[in-house]
């Protein structure tokens, strides 16, 4: 079944300079492998196309069920230079949650 990432995981973004990190955290260990497999750097680049202007690097922390995406060039030059109203990029973490992830039907009970 196809489900929104929002039902599998939660996310938070943080700023440092012109870089935003977006941590994607699985609600359940059984869901994490599907997120890890399908939420690639390429998919993140496509979702944030035009918004994140630099490279994206992914750190997978399997023991904790977390993917940490480090997105360079995401903050319009940095918080103080950013012409976007969301100077700190606090809202960036939410965009990823509308991506679709394919999971086995039997995991439906683990979804939010």
């Amino acid at each position: 079944m196809q489900v929104l990432l929002r039902q599998l995981a939660h996310s938070r973004s943080g700023d440092k300079g012109n870089t935003s990190n977006i941590a994607v955290i699985a609600y359940h260990a059984d869901l994490y492998p599907f997120i890890r497999e399908q939420l690639s750097v390429e998919r993140m680049k496509a979702r944030y196309d035009g918004l994140v202007r630099g490279p994206i690097k992914r750190y997978a922390v399997d023991r904790l069920g977390v993917l940490n995406f480090v997105c360079e060039g995401a903050l319009g030059g940095g918080v103080s230079r950013n012409l976007c109203l969301d100077n700190y990029g606090k809202t960036l973490a939410s965009a990823v949650l509308d991506l679709q992830i394919e999971i086995p039907d039997e995991l439906a009970s683990k979804l939010r």
Binding site: G14, A23, L51, L64, N68, L83
Partner: protein, 447 residues
């Protein structure tokens, strides 16, 4: 033996009443305040030059201290705070004055200086980490440069009997780690304990972001009484493991999910989170839900830290002018689109010289820009928000002037605010570099 460390603020603008509640009821040994963002020092420098009455420390210093000092004195809770900004001595003297007025002359206040390295960095040069360019290209646009100091000077002050320690720039986790090193006599070579302690500090440094703040997502991640969030408290054992909790009866939530969100907040490589004290590896962390709103964190590992301090440099880069106006009802978005065209032409007429201009329609794509999905229906109301970054203030002021013009020379039903706020702000660009630790000397003074 264990110690209880409370978080008193997650940033300058944070709420004060939860800190007071933790000071009153939290049985705290230490209460730590984190009040600085990346641009705090340079913004304070600009303000200090323009405004002789600005003391250079946290503008809420007196409010925060008035709220917690009576409880801290009564309960024997030491305070560690980075509210000193560019004037830790002035902040310490203010706290001294407040303590004396309370009849607490026995309480000792320390100020830690030495983080400001503007002259050293300006003269010695170095590489700008973001661009690889030499710092000399910044020339006299540099306003300030400050090193992120570690825990050592705070520990020294505590060992000398300080009850309140006021710092300028210090790495956020170090404010908390200092309390642990002091209380448990941890060796500076014990990287596991230093890493575990720094992780505890990292989890506490943003206040309610550990206990349900910056977290609620209605219907998916709900939070009890989100208006009443308690600030986190860590009960730290000598081995560096900690149990996080909040005051009973407060709102918010403390669970594996809130802890994980904060653990990765502002972290890049989770196996190599560099602080002045240690390199933290979060990937080995063990998070256990002991009971509702009580979480144990252990297992964090570490490596010896580097020989350099990170330095944050603030440089003058110009001005941003910005304003907004509104449309509602049928055709609101079409009016906003026409307004953008009008403004673009008027900026040409007045010869706006800008490095960058941005016009957004709030309610459509102002926040996620090009990454916004296609509209599924017409918004009933929208705002047009205009911003331009300019080298000269006189240019940035043109943004607000042309938005004013939209009032009577614009489109039907243009909603506009009374101009109640400054519509131009100075841009202090932030750059980073590294400086050898042996070139920076922290100094402790007592009051």
């Amino acid at each position: 033996m264990s110690i209880r460390i409370g978080s008193g603020s997650g940033w300058w603008g944070d709420r004060i009443s939860p800190a007071e509640q933790s000071a009153r009821e939290g049985r705290l040994d230490f209460l730590c305040f984190e009040t600085m963002a990346e641009a705090t020092i340079s913004t304070a420098q600009v303000r200090a030059r323009a405004d002789a009455s600005f003391p250079g420390y946290d503008t809420y210093l007196e409010d925060r201290m008035a709220a917690v000092l009576p409880h801290c004195v009564k309960n024997g809770t030491k305070i560690i705070s980075n509210q000193g900004w560019i004037n830790p001595v002035g902040a310490a003297q203010k706290v001294r004055e407040m303590l004396d007025e309370m009849g607490c002359s026995h309480w000792k206040v320390a100020a830690i200086t030495g983080a400001q390295v503007t002259d050293a960095v300006s003269s010695a040069g170095g590489t700008i980490l973001e661009t690889g360019a030499d710092m000399t290209i910044l020339g006299d646009s540099i306003i300030s440069a400050e090193a992120y100091l570690g825990s050592d000077a705070i520990v020294e002050a505590l060992r000398d009997g300080a009850d309140v320690v006021i710092t300028g720039r210090v790495a956020d986790p170090s404010l908390f780690l200092a309390a642990m090193i002091y209380a448990f006599h941890w060796s500076l070579g014990d990287v596991t304990r230093l890493a575990q302690g720094s992780a505890i500090g990292h989890l506490l440094e943003c206040g309610a972001q550990l206990t349900g703040g910056y977290f609620a997502d209605p219907g998916v991640k709900d939070i009890p009484e989100p208006w009443n969030l308690g600030f986190p408290i860590a009960e730290v054992a000598e081995d560096g493991t900690a149990v996080f909790s909040k005051i009973a009866g407060t709102g918010g939530l403390l669970n594996r999910e809130t802890v994980l969100e904060q653990m990765f907040y502002e972290v890049h490589d989770p196996a190599n989170y560099i602080t002045p004290d240690v390199v933290v590896d979060f990937t080995t962390a063990v998070i256990e839900e002991i009971e509702p709103d009580r979480i144990r964190v252990s297992g964090v590992s570490g490596k010896p830290t580097t020989d350099s301090y990170k330095v944050s440099i603030g440089a003058r880069e110009g001005f941003i002018g910005e304003d907004m106006f509104f449309y509602a009802g049928p055709g609101a978005r079409q009016k906003a689109e026409l307004a953008k065209i009008i403004l673009r032409e008027r900026f040409k007429i007045v010869g706006l010289k800008a490095e960058d201009v941005r016009m957004d329609i709030l309610g459509v794509d102002a926040i996620h820009g090009a990454a916004t999905p296609a509209l599924s229906c017409e918004p009933y109301e929208v705002a047009v928000r205009v911003a331009a970054r300019c080298l000269e203030k006189v240019e940035a002021l043109k943004v607000g002037r042309e938005v004013d013009g939209m009032a009577v020379s614009g489109i039907a039903s243009t909603g506009k605010r009374v101009p109640f706020q400054e519509r131009v702000r100075e841009v202090i660009g932030i750059w980073s570099t590294l400086v050898d630790k042996d070139r920076v000397t922290a100094k402790v003074q007592y009051f």
